[in-house]
């Protein structure tokens, strides 16, 4: 039986799919009205997505990023929300050509990924929830900054090569991309900082494991330093241009690889809101990774962890 949550999720999928078609197509069609229609559809999709997430949270009494598919869904939601918040600026709606396909991939992965037993219950430690949410949203901000930097480099190349027809007119101006990329990095950096601090403070307490033993911590710290240096030279030193955006592209790519690839492949783990928790760690807190189930399937009963970090506080 089709539930309201499923209907909303289906509408979200449809809206993001339409956006993922309209925005890239309009890079070549260059019709201003199409961009407006795309933004409106995306906004409707975001509302549906929000409704779907709220319904899921209220029905299961759990946070919307308690499992891997939910994490993907929340990441897609974060990307769309941040995109819509910047799409009001002139010429920036065309960034939807990158944001909407990314969001569509997020919700598709969420729909297709078998869910594991949730780790974070509605009664989880608030700090851990903050850690996970901030980390996920920072990835969304960095992903959009990555898109801006890619657009910047492409626009820079086209303008330099004097190829003034085609994509040049579809992409935002260099100045707008530069500013937007900077603020997105700043936003992502703040969220990442919150996620890191909360993680460093709370992980040992909640997960009974030292973050010092976690390799992703060092990778994240290195990336945090990279972004800190970028923000310093960009904000204080007023450096900008092609080189700084190349740094952004490399750093964000490294971030995505760190979170989405290398450690995931090297260590059999489950991604929870951007924090990799290994099987061993999960076991250590008394929550073995359970059988998989689709996102729409009913959740198993919430486990009452013996871990002090997982219980109600």
């Amino acid at each position: 039986m089709l539930t309201a949550r499923d209907a909303l999720f289906g509408m979200t999928l449809l809206a993001y799919f339409l956006g993922a078609v309209i925005f890239p197509a309009n890079l070549f069609l260059k019709h201003p009205r199409l961009n407006r229609i795309g933004v409106q559809i995306t906004f409707v999709g975001m509302l549906c997505h929000t409704g779907s997430i709220i319904l899921r949270g209220t029905q299961s009494r759990m946070l919307p990023f308690s499992s891997l598919p939910e994490g993907w869904s929340f990441l897609a939601w974060g990307v769309v929300v941040i995109y819509l918040s910047i799409a009001l600026r002139p010429r920036l709606p065309s960034l939807g050509a990158f944001a909407l396909p990314a969001a569509l991939v997020g919700v598709l992965v969420a729909a297709a990924t078998p869910a594991s037993t949730p780790i974070l219950s509605g009664a989880s430690h608030w700090g851990l929830a903050l850690h996970v949410a901030a980390s996920i949203l920072s990835i969304g901000a960095f992903a959009l900054a990555f898109a801006c930097a890619i657009c910047y480099l492409a626009q820079d190349h086209l303008l330099k090569a004097k190829r003034l027809e085609g994509l040049v007119r579809s992409l935002p101006p260099l100045g707008v991309l530069d500013t937007t990329s900077y603020w997105l990095i700043a936003l992502g950096f703040c969220l990442l900082t919150v996620g890191m601090i909360s993680g460093i403070i709370l992980v040992p307490e909640v997960l009974k494991a030292s973050w010092i033993q976690r390799p992703d911590t060092y990778a994240t710290l290195l990336l945090w330093l990279t972004f800190a240096v970028y923000l310093y030279v960009r904000g204080v030193g007023h450096w900008r241009g092609r080189r700084t955006h190349t740094v952004v592209v490399i750093a964000v790519a490294a971030l995505l690889i760190v979170y989405g690839g290398v450690i995931l492949l090297l260590r059999p783990a489950t991604l929870h809101g951007g924090t990799l928790i290994s099987q061993a760690t999960a076991s250590a807190i008394g929550r073995p990774l359970g059988p998989t189930r689709p996102l729409s399937a009913p959740r198993p009963p919430i486990m009452r962890e013996s871990s002090p970090g997982a219980g109600e506080r």
């Binding site: 004097k162 007119r169 935002p172 101006p173 007023h238 241009g241 092609r242 080189r243």
Partner: protein
């Protein structure tokens, strides 16, 4: 000073002149032998569609050099009339002469500017007679411009006519031709939307700045050159939302200050502009210097201080004033006048829809010129016929007047008035017919018959039928309307 060509003869089928040849020029240029034959109107040119900027900048003529080459060309190629139209996008020669050949003009120009003649030939275009008239009308209307319907080319056409008059190389044909072209240009702009919407090289430059910087409100600009194009671009930047102070630099500080006062800018010394490059975001270079002013080293030094902030260099000068090597530096965007063509084309959609209407106007003006041209052939005959009749009347009246001495004064006056009326009525129908034949281009055969019938040995000069050399062009220039005030600039 050249002796104006003496109009001697108007042959059937074509108006024709005997040309007094001038002295040889100092340049090592092949000369052509004086020719006799039909008078032809020829246009040879090189524009942005046929010749690259490297060639066009070698063929660019200032006012003084245009006059100089017009005189030399006239002397060497047996031309009765000659005018040079030189803009950033085109260099064209309008010549009237006996059996005038385009190849001769190109060969002369190649020798004058030391360019390979064959190469020049391959980049040139040629129009003759009605096609030449149509071409100039199209140029004046802005149909042949890089930016469709641009305004400034109309003024440049007028200036070219003026320069030819001042150099005494213009005559009745070119005077009428340029007048007709200016009329076509003015009609095109007032009766159609061919020039509506600010589309121009300068406008394209501002659009490019928007493409790079987004909002221009916080951008800073430097204009090198206090000429007309600099001023137009500056005003356009202001209207595009630039609120910061614009720096203006010119070799003549006073001119920079004057422009700065008019445009709410700041004049700076010429030698300070390299330092200013480190501060500004947009540099508009529009000087008449024949060499690179903004050299790559200057830009490289400025970019070190800019810390990766991009800079837009717009070089709308011909010859170019910015070293092309500077465009290869990181975060430097260098666009010359050719590069801006693509930017400008985006805004031409609406104007392109008006082309058909403008072509109709041009066709009407070309037809008017043809009528005027044909009238040149029959007009001397008409004048001669009237003169013959008047001579006869006067002779008869002188003889009769003594015999009428007994009549009262008022009766004698009435009789003399009657003789005038009689002659007018007698000649009215033949004159109307001759004019009609002239309009249709069939009058030249009849002119000989009329001359034989009336014994017209010395037909009146064509200049008496047309406007005196230079007068038409001067009148035309005097009646010019001002340029558009919508901030639209032309190709240069």
């Amino acid at each position: 000073m050249r002796v104006p060509a003496r109009v001697n003869h108007i042959p059937p089928g074509n108006y024709c002149y005997d040309v007094t040849m001038g002295s040889a020029a100092s340049h090592d240029i092949p000369t052509t032998e004086p020719k006799s034959g039909p008078m032809t109107l020829v246009t040879v040119g090189f524009n942005h569609n046929t010749a690259p900027i490297e060639l066009r900048e070698r063929l660019a003529f200032g006012a003084s050099s245009a006059a100089e080459i017009s005189l030399a060309l006239q002397n060497h190629c047996s031309l009765t009339e000659c005018a040079i139209l030189s803009t950033c996008n085109r260099s064209e020669i309008y010549a009237v002469g006996t059996d005038c050949q385009a190849q001769d003009l190109v060969r002369f120009l190649a020798g004058w500017r030391e360019v390979d003649s064959a190469e020049l030939q391959s980049h040139s275009y040629e129009y003759r007679e009605a096609d030449a008239v149509r071409h100039l009308c199209r140029v004046a209307a802005g149909l042949d411009s890089m930016v469709l319907g641009e305004h400034q080319v109309l003024k440049q056409v007028k200036d070219a006519a003026d320069q030819a008059v001042e150099a005494h190389t213009s005559g009745p044909v070119l005077g009428a031709l340029f007048r007709q072209a200016v009329t076509a240009g003015r009609r095109a702009r007032s009766e159609t939307a061919i020039s509506r919407g600010a589309v121009s090289i300068s406008h394209a430059a501002v659009e490019l700045a928007r493409q790079i910087f987004g909002q221009l409100a916080g951008c800073r600009a430097l204009v090198l050159g206090a000429g007309e194009m600099g001023e137009i671009t500056l005003k356009l930047l202001r209207s595009a939302g630039m609120r910061t102070s614009i720096m203006i630099s010119n070799r003549t500080r006073e001119r920079a200050e004057e422009l700065a006062q008019r445009c709410d800018g700041v004049g700076i010394e010429w030698d300070q502009f390299p330092a200013a490059l480190a501060e500004v975001d947009i540099v508009i270079v529009s000087t008449s210097a024949p060499h690179y002013i903004v050299k790559a080293d200057i830009v490289r030094q400025a970019m070190r201080a800019r810390r990766g902030r991009h800079i837009l260099l717009v070089d709308i000068s011909v010859p170019r004033n910015v070293d092309p090597v500077a465009g290869a530096l990181p975060d430097v965007f260098l666009y010359n006048i050719d590069d801006l063509r693509d930017v400008a084309h985006r805004n031409l959609g609406d104007r392109a829809q008006e082309v058909e209407k403008v072509e109709q106007i041009i066709a009407e003006e070309v037809e008017r010129f043809r009528i005027w041209q044909n009238g040149l052939g029959v007009a001397p005959a008409i004048v001669g016929m009237r003169q013959f009749a008047e001579n006869v009347r006067q002779q008869e009246w002188d003889r009769l007047e003594n015999k009428l001495a007994h009549l009262p004064e008022h009766d004698r006056v009435a009789i003399e008035a009657w003789t005038h009326q009689f002659i007018n009525k007698l000649l009215h129908q033949p004159m109307v017919q001759l004019k009609a034949l002239g309009v249709n281009g069939k009058g030249y055969d009849r002119v000989e018959v009329v001359r034989e019938l009336f014994g017209l040995q010395e037909p009146a000069a064509v200049s008496s039928a047309a406007e005196a050399p230079g007068t038409a062009a001067k009148a035309m220039v005097g009646s010019e309307t001002g340029r558009s005030t919508d901030g639209e600039a032309d190709s240069c």
